[in-house]
């Protein structure tokens, strides 16, 4: 039995997760349709027997639903759940070739498989050609609570624009006069077509917005540094080629902000994980991938990875208080499969490669970021070295020599003073150290010296477990 979809079921207590699973299947159905689709999540409040309930409907215009999609859903017997949901799912689905819409009720409480399914009268299509599904459950929970959770979930969905799918969140109910009202809370446009370049770009842009919105209080604005990485498997005997996209963002808050305002939970950073275009709780293989990365070569030390209700939070050692590392990982299969069970588990090596690629991309494009611990220590010397060099130049009684040095450094003679020269040299030293740091990671062999009188620190080059059918690259290579 395929584990991950069931895991999605059990990682959260809230029965709303059932609708997350429902959304997952709806998304795959839309992708399969390979045509412009609409996916709606509708929350409607109503009352029955004096209880206020909310009807959650997930409807899509993708390919018709297959009964096997629901065979792995199990009703979990716990008190909270029993109070909130009766285990009934209403299903209406039709494929393009069907002449009617099938209506069914699924009773998950029923252990006997024969008794689970209740066929209801079909609805005629009258010759119209369309396909789609609507799945509904009724939950005893406050509309506001559910709305908050769904909105949060959908805000993450914005990061991965599903090709050719438009999503919307609708809220409905009775107005004081008893008539039905419906309003659209959120609309998400998908991308026009799938392309690997577009896909990672969407994730990058979406994630940047997401990070900015989460930290509006600290007004970080422009100081976001981004790196992206993609890893492919070219298809194996298991059948389906996987793609893992990773985006790493370093946000540095304004140093003037008083540190007392930084909340404890800001020190732990959530890793956003997506599977097949839907936000999910992170797969164990991705967690393993994160643990196996040699963070020291990026100047980071991972203190812990903690699971909080399916959200993975990373805690780092000794990070400056205004420095955050944000990671988003999207693992998907190129070939959409309707039945989740047909997809293989995400590959640990792929995830690791993608994240490493993103980290390297970040480092490549931003000179002072993610320097290895070793390089950071060398950078500590940079201000002193720079000052001394500046003084060596400017205290020489040979003015020609001073001019030559300043012109080498690209400084105009009228802007020459100890501070400017010192700062210029310091920047060049840091840049050179950064360059060496990146190069030393690319080449496994450290440069050899003729004589070593100091112990050569062995660089912990994590071996890349290259398999024949894997490639890793950052999006710029595409």
């Amino acid at each position: 039995m395929e584990v991950s979809s069931v895991q999605m079921l059990y990682t959260h207590v809230i029965d709303f997760l059932y609708s997350k699973t429902l959304i997952f299947c709806a998304v795959q159905r839309c992708r399969l349709a390979d045509d412009l689709c609409r996916l709606s999540v509708k929350l409607t409040s109503f009352s029955r027997f004096g209880r206020s309930l909310v009807r959650i409907s997930v409807s899509d215009t993708g390919v018709g639903s297959k009964l096997e999609e629901y065979q792995y859903l199990k009703y979990r017997n716990d008190a909270v759940l029993t109070n909130q949901w009766d285990g009934m799912i209403s299903l209406a689905t039709t494929s393009i070739s069907d002449s009617e819409i099938h209506n069914l009720n699924l009773n998950l409480k029923e252990s006997d498989s024969a008794g689970r399914l209740i066929k209801l009268p079909s609805t005629a299509k009258n010759g119209d050609k369309f396909s789609g599904t609507e799945v509904s459950v009724s939950i005893s929970k406050s509309l506001d609570d559910l709305l908050a959770e769904v909105t949060c979930f959908l805000q993450k969905m914005i990061l991965v624009k599903i090709p050719k799918v438009v999503m919307e969140l609708l809220v409905g109910g009775n107005d004081p006069l008893g008539s039905q009202i419906e309003s659209r809370i959120l609309a998400i446009e998908g991308s026009s077509a799938y392309s690997p370049v577009e896909s990672i770009k969407c994730l990058e842009v979406g994630f940047k917005d997401y990070v900015r919105n989460r930290h509006t209080v600290f007004s970080i604005g422009e100081t976001l540094k981004v790196g992206t990485g993609v890893a492919n498997s070219s298809g194996s005997s298991q059948g389906n080629s996987q793609v893992v996209e990773a985006v790493v963002i370093i946000s540095e808050m304004s140093e003037q902000f008083p540190s007392s305002c930084i909340r404890e939970q800001d020190m732990k950073m959530e890793v956003l994980y997506f599977k097949d275009f839907v936000p999910c709780s992170i797969a164990q293989s991705a967690v393993d991938a994160l643990t196996s990365i040699n963070w020291k070569s990026y100047g980071l030390a991972l203190r812990s990875i903690a699971d909080h209700d399916g959200c993975i939070m990373l805690e780092w050692e000794n990070l400056p208080q205004y420095f955050h590392v944000h990671i988003a990982i999207h693992c998907y299969h190129r070939q959409v499969k309707q039945l989740v069970a047909q997809n293989s588990l995400p590959d640990r090596n792929l995830a690791r490669k993608a994240v490493k690629c993103a980290l390297d991309d970040l480092k490549e494009n931003n000179h002072r970021v993610l320097l290895s611990t070793r390089a950071l220590k060398i950078c500590d010397c940079a201000p002193d070295l720079a000052k001394t060099l500046a003084r060596l130049i400017l205290s020489s009684n040979d003015l020609n020599f001073q001019e030559e040095c300043c012109s080498l450094l690209g400084l105009q003679s009228r802007r020459v003073n100890m501070d400017n020269v010192g700062n210029c040299i310091r920047d060049k030293i840091v840049s050179v150290i950064g360059l060496n740091d990146r190069n030393s990671q690319k080449h496994k062999d450290a440069p050899s010296f003729l004589f070593e009188d100091d112990y050569l620190q062995k660089e912990d080059f994590m071996d890349e477990e290259y398999q024949e059918d894997e490639e890793a690259y950052n999006s710029l290579d595409l």
Partner: protein, 361 residues
């Protein structure tokens, strides 16, 4: 005057410093990590096969230090700070001691030996000696005897008081017009022995120059001795205690120290001969058993280490033999042990007889 090397003039050195600084700036400007290559010198090694290159004065290899390593980055920081100070000393024609330099940045340098190493590195880079950098060494040596010279324009006339100690000049390059009627130079290890000789009017009875480094000889003492030998072409005899440290001091005079190996050519006195005291002198001069001390474990370790020095077998096999004998007998004794016979035994009997009879190696 001490032989001036043409490429050690202040202007030349300043030019070299600028060249060095300029090349670092150029490397940085072009996005390269600057690498500094420093030749390494050794005046001995522990390869006793005879195949080593220590006998040549050339470098035995090169060390590369660059910004790619943290320990190197700190070392470069120290080197540049010292270089800056030296540039200032040369430009302003002022002098500073190693200690002066150390106290300019004590938190960065952490200890004076760090400054020492930086100064040596700079000497190697600029191919000069310490005094060329206007770094003044502390002078501890004493001289007396039949000698007259001019130091920085001042006349020093040791001959007028041949039993009075004069300090060895620190600025040996300022020493000129050396005149002497001495027949030999006697180098003694300890100040106590030096004063013994002075007290016994040794200088009056013997036409010689007596020098002491007061232990391990410092750079001015070695430079001064070197100068005397170059100018006067006199035989040089060395009197040290019969113990491992005495022997080490003797080899320092003859071959130079490992730390200053890059400058050994200008500091060593190859002509020096070992006068005593030898282990056989115990018997030859009837020194009683009570005057002999056993070698400690540390003494033995030091002797064993010194026996491995390649230059012993190659250049002074007889000295090596004496050292082995010392280890074999397991005892040591001081020069003052000769006073067991009489206070003046050293000055009146031992030294004259040894020199006359050729009892030196």
């Amino acid at each position: 005057m001490e032989g001036k090397r043409s490429n050690t003039q202040p202007l030349t050195l300043l030019r070299k410093i600028k060249g060095f600084t300029g090349s670092i700036v150029e490397d940085l400007a072009r996005g390269r990590a600057p690498t500094i290559y420093i030749d390494r010198f050794k005046n001995y090694c522990t390869d006793t096969s005879g195949n080593c290159s220590c006998s040549s004065d050339g470098s035995t290899g090169r060390e590369a230090i660059s910004l790619k390593r943290e320990c190197h980055a700190r070392r470069i920081d120290v080197l540049l700070r010292v270089l800056l100070i030296i540039q200032q000393l040369l430009q302003e024609s002022r002098h500073g001691s190693k200690r002066d330099i150390y106290y300019m940045h004590p938190t960065v340098f952490k200890e004076p030996s760090v400054v020492d190493r930086a100064i040596n590195d700079i000497c190697i880079l600029l191919q000069c000696s310490r005094h060329n950098l206007n770094v003044v060494s502390v002078g501890n040596g004493l001289v007396m005897g039949w000698l007259r010279y001019v130091e920085s324009g001042r006349k020093i006339d040791c001959i007028s008081n041949p039993n009075t100690a004069y300090p060895i000049p620190v600025h040996v390059e300022e020493v000129d017009d050396i005149i002497s009627v001495a027949q030999y130079v006697l180098v003694v290890e300890k100040e106590s022995v030096f004063h013994r000789l002075a007290n016994d009017q040794f200088g009056k009875r013997n036409r010689c120059i007596v020098i002491t480094g007061r232990g391990y000889p410092d750079v001015p003492t070695r430079r001064f001795l070197r100068l005397l030998v170059d100018k006067l072409h006199l035989p040089v005899y060395c009197l040290v205690d019969c113990d491992p440290y005495g022997f080490d001091i003797l080899t320092t005079y003859k071959f130079g120290s490992l730390q200053m190996a890059y400058d050994a050519k200008f500091l060593r006195v190859c002509e020096i001969q070992w006068l005593g005291v030898f282990i056989q002198d115990c018997d030859n001069y009837s020194i009683p058993q009570q005057c002999l001390l056993p070698l400690t474990a540390e003494d033995k370790r030091k002797v064993e280490a010194m026996l491995l020095r390649c230059y012993l077998q190659r250049e002074v096999p007889k000295w090596r033999f004496e050292l082995e004998l010392l280890l074999h007998k397991g005892v040591k004794f001081e020069i003052e042990a000769l006073s067991v016979h009489s206070l003046t035994f050293l000055s009146h009997e031992y030294l004259p007889s040894k020199i006359q009879s050729g009892g030196y190696i």
